[in-house]
């Protein structure tokens, strides 16, 4: 039984280290294997394994505070390990001891999970996977494609969705947690993007990959319900990463302007009103984003209506990530042209924060569902809108 760790303190320590490596991984688009090793070796990666299975049993608040700080050092690393950390917490919540074998691997062998619920042609509608799971003796054969499979290069376990048509042909979504197999899955396109470049979010081609019955998480068809019930682990941890970027941008801007001098000024740039006002806006937006995030973290997550819970958490993510993006844009404005130079972390923050606008849940679907719910309009009724 591991002793109770202060994951926030650990994150603070690691963030400093990762910050020094962030630029190189960002420029080269390489996966930060050495960071992942540090996360495993320090026990950070066992944070959300249930305590009774030898893990840290971290709360959602501990997780988010730690991830927020880690993201300030290297957002890509934080986002890559986030799939693992929040995934474990969700698995513990929805599948419990069913995944005991995986918890053991994480604690004893340093296994790391990567997760894939995005697919080309699905457009953020993760509850409609296109990957097909065909029953075979002892399990399933999976065929399909996955995109944005964050953390893939460092993963030894894969957490992924698929669909199995039932006897009436109705697609039943389901999820698997499987040891990364030797065959049946290949990288079809390496991750090469403008932001979050060191997350190894590759595209995968899944061609007959085997998943055993014992690797099925929850039951057939109840993936959406399970995911919605546990979605606070996902969307809160996502948001914490982008708030972390925003706060790092604020801290950086403040530290630089306090010391910055221009030939034409008799005091530091911090004395310019335009700089003060922009920083005030940054401070205020960061405070608002953090408040919304942690209100969601501390909310009652036992909502008997999983869809309502999903909508509340989704609205939180959209607001928080939008504020975070505004903050990094303001940071660039305050710093000026030099903020765009490779040597400034602000330009990386600016690119990484853009991903916050784009990772699930999608803005339009969130708004559609939240609006319909408020107006008592059945969310899945067709036609979707007035004809």
């Amino acid at each position: 039984m591991a002793e109770r760790r202060d994951y926030v303190a650990l994150a603070t320590e690691l963030a400093q280290k990762f910050a020094e490596r962030a630029d190189a991984h960002d420029v080269d688009g390489t996966f930060p294997h050495e960071n992942l090793a540090d996360l495993v070796n320090t026990g950070y990666s066992a944070m959300t394994v249930p305590a009774e299975h030898g893990g840290g049993g971290a709360t959602l608040e501990e997780l988010c505070k730690a991830q927020q700080i880690l993201a300030g050092g290297c957002a890509s690393t934080a986002f890559a390990i986030n799939m693992h950390i929040h995934g474990l917490a969700m698995l513990a919540a929805v599948a419990g001891d069913q995944c005991a074998w995986a918890y053991r691997k994480v604690v004893d062998e340093g296994a790391v999970i990567a997760g894939g619920f995005s697919e080309p042609g699905v457009g953020g509608n993760w509850w409609h996977p296109g990957t097909v799971a065909t029953p075979v003796p002892g399990g399933y054969r999976l065929t399909g494609r996955k995109s944005f499979f964050t953390g893939y290069p460092g993963a030894s376990l894969l957490f992924l969705s698929a669909v199995r048509p039932d006897e009436r042909g109705v697609p039943q979504p389901l999820a698997f947690l499987v040891p990364k197999p030797e065959e049946g899955v290949t990288v079809s396109a390496e991750w090469d993007a403008a932001g979050m470049r060191a997350t190894g979010s590759h595209s995968l081609s899944i061609d007959g990959m085997f998943a055993g019955d014992e690797h099925l998480v929850g039951g057939v068809g109840n993936l959406p319900l399970l995911f919605m019930s546990g979605v606070h682990w996902a969307w809160c941890s996502f948001a914490s990463v982008f708030v972390g970027i925003a706060r790092a941008a604020l801290d950086h801007v403040v530290a630089v302007q306090r010391e910055r001098r221009l030939n034409v000024l008799d005091r530091t740039v911090a004395h310019l009103p335009g700089v003060q006002f922009a920083v005030a806006d940054m401070v205020t937006k960061v405070a608002a984003a953090e408040a919304h995030l942690y209100a969601a973290v501390r909310a009652d997550h036992g909502n008997p209506d999983p869809l309502a819970h999903y909508i509340d958490m989704s609205l939180m993510k959209t607001s928080v990530c939008s504020l975070a993006h505004e903050v990094v844009t303001l940071a660039l404005r305050v710093q000026g042209g030099s903020g765009l130079l490779r040597k400034s972390p602000l330009q990386r923050f600016y690119r990484d924060a853009a991903a916050g606008l784009l990772v699930p849940p999608g803005l339009d679907t969130t708004y559609e569902w939240a609006g319909k719910q408020a107006l008592d309009i059945p969310i899945f009724e067709e036609p979707r809108w007035a004809s």
Binding site: L265, V279, A287, A288, Y294, G371
Partner: protein, 397 residues
């Protein structure tokens, strides 16, 4: 458990009364908003329901509501009537701020009066002061044991229902420099006589029913006992209570925004027209409603976080004041955006009807204008981030 639950029971009763009164206030607002005047009937209802007594200290048998509870209450009242909520906020801010100032000769007397239904207000905007409460143009001249007050005070919100005024003035004896010459006095309205009169009755473009008259103090004599704090300490006192003003003001405008959102939802449900069978099925309406929800959730989270976690001034008083600006600045600006969006969902018919949303539209603009204004807030917050004192001169380059 026993005493706590009794106190909580009383608090729940106050909140229930406030929730019951909100729709009553809204009906009255629909009738009386345009003619203005003061929501005196509303304040009387709040007094009768014990709402105005929530900040009476526990030691004197009061509920001694927390800042977060004050915020919750003001939001609830604001859903019914912005003018009433704003007048109430002045009273709750003053009574909460003063309740732990034990020792002064006025303390117990005033708190007992509040328990018995007193309504205390404070016009803190002086003629030509540009909402800088630290530099009043009102003067206090020492006169024997007491003081003589002269000046013109604007925005005497709630005056028509007030039993007591808190009046600030610069003590005109040249001993202390501004802002330390600031002093504050209790004035009993019933005893003020000719020295206190309404110079110009309120006819506001927003918050029309607050009776925020301009008051002339004309040789108004008060006892020495009426001075709330020892010489020189008033500014520090006010700063160390800034959280009450900022969060309670923010609560009023958040309450208005929440009501605007509700009105948009209520108006849309089941609405149809010749072109659309169910207006709620329009995506633009759904998206607008959702955006409002998201914004309100952020505003609520921020204000709640501050009202529970940013309550103690600590060592760095100016830093604390700057910090308390954050939710006031954010919430009042966002409230305006939410009300604007709600108005568009409700649509043009709301202009025709003398509707509640059109009243809220007018009221919500007062939010960013109340002190600290948006510009003051940005200056304080920005300087604080850099460790620059907001009262250092020159202020900039």
């Amino acid at each position: 458990m026993g005493e706590l639950s009794e106190r909580d029971r009383r608090w729940a009763a106050v909140m229930e009364a406030a929730r019951d009164l909100a729709p009553v206030f809204e009906r009255r607002s629909l009738e009386h908003y345009d003619e203005g005047g003061f929501a005196a009937e509303n304040i009387a209802d709040l007094v009768a329901a014990g709402v105005t007594a929530i900040n009476v200290p526990a030691a004197l048998g009061g509920i001694e509501a927390t800042l977060a509870e004050n915020v919750e209450l003001l939001k609830t009242v604001a859903a019914g009537c912005g003018s009433t909520a704003f007048a109430l906020s002045i009273h709750t801010v003053i009574t909460a701020s003063l309740r732990d100032q034990t020792g002064g000769p006025w303390h117990e007397k005033l708190m007992r009066a509040v328990a018995d239904g007193a309504f205390v207000i404070g016009p803190f905007t002086d003629e030509s002061s540009g909402s800088n409460w630290t530099r009043p143009s009102t003067t206090a001249r020492r006169d024997g044991d007491g003081f003589v007050l002269d000046g013109l005070k604007h925005f005497a919100t709630g005056f028509d229902a007030a039993t007591h005024l808190i009046v600030t003035a610069a003590v005109a004896d040249g001993i202390l420099e501004p802002p330390f010459d600031l002093s504050a006095f209790v004035v009993e309205t019933a005893a003020a006589g000719d020295g206190l009169r309404v110079e110009r009755p309120w006819r506001g473009g927003a918050l029309t029913m607050t009776g925020s008259h301009s008051l002339r103090l004309d040789g108004l004599r008060v006892d020495g006992d009426a001075q709330l704090f020892p010489d020189g300490l008033a500014p520090l006192f006010v700063m160390s209570r800034q959280q009450w003003g900022h969060y309670c003001f923010a609560a009023v405008f958040l309450g208005l925004a929440e009501r605007a959102y509700e009105l948009a939802v209520e108006t849309t449900k089941g609405r149809s027209n010749t072109a659309v069978r169910d207006v709620g099925r329009l995506p633009g309406v759904q998206f607008a409603i959702a955006r409002m929800r998201a914004r309100l959730a952020t505003m609520n989270a921020l204000l709640t976080a501050y009202a529970t976690e940013h309550v103690e001034p600590g060592e760095d008083l100016l830093g604390f004041v700057a910090d308390t600006c954050v939710p006031k600045y954010f919430v009042t600006a966002e409230a305006e955006a939410v009300v604007s969006a709600a108005f568009e969902v409700i649509g043009g018919s709301a202009i025709r009807d003398g509707s509640r949303i059109a009243q809220i539209w007018r009221d919500v603009k007062a939010g960013p204008l109340l002190p600290f204004t948006a510009d003051q807030a940005r200056e304080f917050i920005g300087k604080q981030a850099f460790g620059i004192s907001p009262i250092e001169t020159p202020r900039w380059m």
